[in-house]
């Protein structure tokens, strides 16, 4: 635990500037969302929704770069220091992942807040339940289904390629993993679609949709009754597996 605390502190010092910049970038997105008020009222909600989605996707990319950057530390020798330190690979992977997770939760919850603000600016009436769903439930669902597995995959890619960089060409395992992932992803999505709604769906969007539909602004939106819970559980399980494999490979890394 002492080792984990120190590694988490190290991660904060290494990546704190990235995290602050990412969170700070929300000011830019908020500014963009505010500017949309000059556009015709009927189009505002759609454009704002697109901007919020761009912030969400951009955040995932930045988080992946933050967690997976390695080249400089391999050349500089810091990676060697970490590999030779007493904490296990689990502690190293957990510390790096936990910091990214904490940053991601903060960022996506704030994006949820931006979404609330967006709807408020578009005069969509939101009750307390809908606000809670938009700021907590939906961001955490999106995190669990997409961002968390992406970050775990990035960590695994980082460890996997570095494990074979010294004794052979590092691009070979990297290419194999990226190409392999594309095939696995297709198989995974097909599988998730097949099993979705086996369990009862979650009514996370219901209140928000009702509120949106109550306004005439976006009455053309297709109502989606519920969110399937299977993708969340499957992707969280996959995240855990990827992290365990990355921790195991950490022991084999050469530097």
């Amino acid at each position: 635990m002492k080792g984990f605390r120190t590694l988490f502190w190290l991660e904060y010092r290494r990546s704190g500037a990235w995290a602050i910049a990412l969170i700070g970038s929300l000011a830019f997105w908020a500014w963009g969302l505010f500017q949309v008020r000059r556009i015709e009222l009927a189009e505002q909600l759609g454009i704002r929704g697109m901007l919020v989605a761009m912030a969400a996707v951009g955040g995932a990319v930045v988080l992946a770069l933050m967690i997976g950057r390695l080249r400089g530390e391999t050349r500089g020798g810091q990676y060697q220091v970490l590999l030779l330190s007493p904490p296990s690979g689990h502690a190293h992977i957990a510390a790096r992942y936990t910091f990214a997770l904490a940053t991601a939760v903060l960022y996506y919850v704030m994006i949820g807040g931006l979404a609330c603000w967006t709807l408020w600016m578009s005069a969509v009436p939101l009750d307390a339940g809908s606000i809670a769903q938009l700021t907590l439930a939906i961001p955490l669902y999106v995190l669990g289904v997409t961002v968390l597995p992406l970050l775990a995959w990035t960590l695994l890619l980082m460890v996997f390629t570095s494990a074979y960089r010294v004794s052979g060409p590092g691009w070979v395992p990297g290419t194999v993993m990226i190409l392999g992932t594309l095939f696995v992803l297709r198989w995974l999505i097909e599988g998730i679609v097949r099993v979705s709604y086996t369990l009862p769906g979650w009514r996370l969007l219901e209140g928000v949709q009702t509120a949106v539909l109550q306004t005439t602004v976006e009455a053309q939106l297709e109502p989606v009754a519920t969110l399937p819970q299977e993708p969340l559980w499957i992707m969280l399980a996959l995240t855990l597996v990827l992290l365990v494999i990355a921790s195991r490979i950490w022991r084999e890394v050469e530097a």
Partner: protein, 226 residues
Amino acid sequence: MLASLSDVTKRYGRTDGLSNVTIDFPAGQVVGVLGLNGSGKSTLLKLLAGLLFPTAGKVTLFDGPPREKRAKLVYLGENDSLWTWMTPADAETFMQGLYDDFDVGRYRALLDSLAVPKRKTKAMSKGERGRLRLAMALARDAKLYLLDEPLAGIDLLSREKILQSIVREWHTDETILLSTHEVAEAEGLFERVLYLREGRLALDARAEELRNQGRSVVQAFREVLG
């Protein structure tokens, strides 16, 4: 035996970094690892540290695989290996949090004796960073110290301070492996010298024996590797 390499070969793609090397390291020696660039010095130290895995042969450290015994050794690589935002105080937090054998009092005394400034490493000279890294390394109470080119690219005064600290902090039950190109300056430190040439062990000799033969470590270096 503290550490040993048994018929070890390390290959990088098609190039041999080390070829069929067998060496034992008992406790309580200061060993010079000498050779020209690309002779396999760093590979040897990295294999002992567990940073590399042998292509063939076996490396043993404290009767086990090196990576599993990593908490018992100090490895000072040839790179800077310090984060640019680190100050000596940050380095203390880092080392104290990760290493049970890190002695804070000894570290602070070493910082003083090595005249390490308190600023961030990005604002330090190479010599100052080298001295800080050495303070971090020597403040640990390990049994095996692997020092890869700690004198490289460092000014004369810093080199002297580093060598003095190594001599002062060395205990008779500890083994130090020091690779360096500054053979003449470090000569007095060595009890044993390993001369590596193109990945092979060209000579494994006791410094005392060389001197008895009327040869210095530097002379032997020229004869064996020249």
